[in-house]
């Protein structure tokens, strides 16, 4: 898709940017807190950067690291502008950027603990729909499953998470 976008195919680029928007939304959401007002601004800014800087993508290399490097740069830039002078030297340092609010941080940690118990495939679906805000259709296309199968799987996943909370089993 990126190659099509580079070669001047507008439809290919639109499809690529739409797919990236979902990934970026999830990426920023994880780091800034879901639904934070800035997430969508940052998604848009990153899409603009991907478009304007697409000539810096080296076709001989993998595309995903390039796209996430753009997103990471925009995230750092965002923090810097906000006056929080913090570096992001490593991907693992993401915990540093969790919202300072202890309640929402615990909630998020709880959430990711619960998510960790789900099978990988189901977990991905729950994250895409419930956290990244993709539609059922987008997710089913991405996962290569039918829309109803996606819905069922998510429903079961959420139920399983609720059960483990109910049991107090952490």
């Amino acid at each position: 898709m990126m190659l099509g976008a580079l070669d001047g195919d507008a439809a290919a680029e639109a499809a690529l940017l739409r797919a990236l928007a979902g990934h970026f939304r999830a990426y920023f959401g994880r780091r800034m807190g879901d639904g934070a007002a800035d997430v969508e601004d940052l998604v848009q800014e990153t899409l603009i950067a991907v478009h304007l800087k697409r000539h810096t993508y080296d076709r001989a290399r993998a595309f995903t690291p390039w796209a996430y490097a753009v997103a990471r740069y925009k995230l750092i830039d965002h923090y810097r502008r906000r006056g929080a002078r913090r570096e992001v030297p490593l991907e693992n340092a993401e915990a540093l950027f969790e919202d300072a609010d202890p309640v929402s941080r615990t909630a998020r940690q709880e959430l990711s603990r619960l998510l960790d118990r789900l099978p990988a495939r189901q977990r991905g679906l729950v994250e895409d729909v419930k956290l990244a805000g993709l539609s059922i259709e987008e997710t089913s296309r991405k996962a290569g499953m039918s829309a109803s199968a996606v819905k069922v799987s998510i429903h079961r996943g959420v139920k399983a998470m609720a059960r483990s909370v109910g049991r107090g089993d952490r």
């Binding site: 507008a10 940017l17 739409r18 899409l47 950067a49 304007l52 810096t56 390039w66 996430y68």
Partner: protein
């Protein structure tokens, strides 16, 4: 604006740009030409250039500065792109410096220690780094402009590499004027001269290279 509208607008813009490799290659050529002009305008070629072409000292000097410039170019070619890193370029730059330092150490080891200062200082130590920095100044500007069209995600390092590219090319040009032959002179003053814009680039990179 809704994200979907934004995507439609972005996809509609089909203006194509050349990749950073072409940009950076042109920038290197431009920087070298500018450095040669500065060298010719201020100091001129060394009078014995033709004889010097047959000497090992001349090629050691030219090889060192050209290797630094090449290493910096390799680093830039990677760092101009999001997520890029360049172990090869870094290794080449380090190897050039280490090699010349070793040559200098061997040269000094053969001499009594009371002559070391004289060998290191040569005839022109007091002007050499400043002249190299002057010869490199337009190249630094050109390299930064080329880099601004790219997308470095490590701007301090990219700025340093831009300065090192300009410094390497400027020192290569200045080497056509300078008639110092000692490896120790090269290791100290040329290295210092090449580092001037590299340090400036590291400091100013985050500001100059934002995108």
């Amino acid at each position: 604006m809704e994200t979907d509208d934004l995507i439609a607008r972005l996809a509609a813009d089909r203006a194509a740009r050349p990749g950073p490799r072409i940009d950076l290659a042109l920038a290197a050529l431009g920087a070298l030409a500018a450095s040669l002009l500065v060298m010719l305008a201020f100091w001129g070629l060394r009078a014995d250039l033709l004889q010097a072409l047959a000497s090992a000292a001349f090629w050691m000097k030219a090889g060192y500065t050209a290797a630094v410039a090449l290493a910096a170019w390799l680093i830039l070619d990677r760092l101009a792109r999001p997520g890029g890193r360049s172990p090869l370029g870094m290794a080449l730059a380090a190897a050039a410096v280490v090699l010349v330092a070793a040559l200098a150490a061997r040269e000094l080891a053969l001499l009594p220690s009371d002559q070391w200062m004289a060998v290191v200082k040569g005839q022109s130590w007091s002007v050499c780094p400043a002249r190299i920095a002057l010869a490199s100044a337009p190249g630094f500007l050109i390299a930064v402009l080329a880099l601004r069209r790219a997308a470095p995600t490590r701007p301090a390092l990219a700025g340093a590499a831009a300065g090192l590219l300009a410094g390497g090319l400027g020192a290569t040009a200045y080497g056509l004027h300078c008639d110092e032959t000692a490896a120790a002179f090269l290791a100290v003053w040329y290295t210092l001269g090449m580092l001037v814009w590299a340090v400036a680039g590291a400091v100013a990179g985050p500001r100059l290279l934002r995108w």
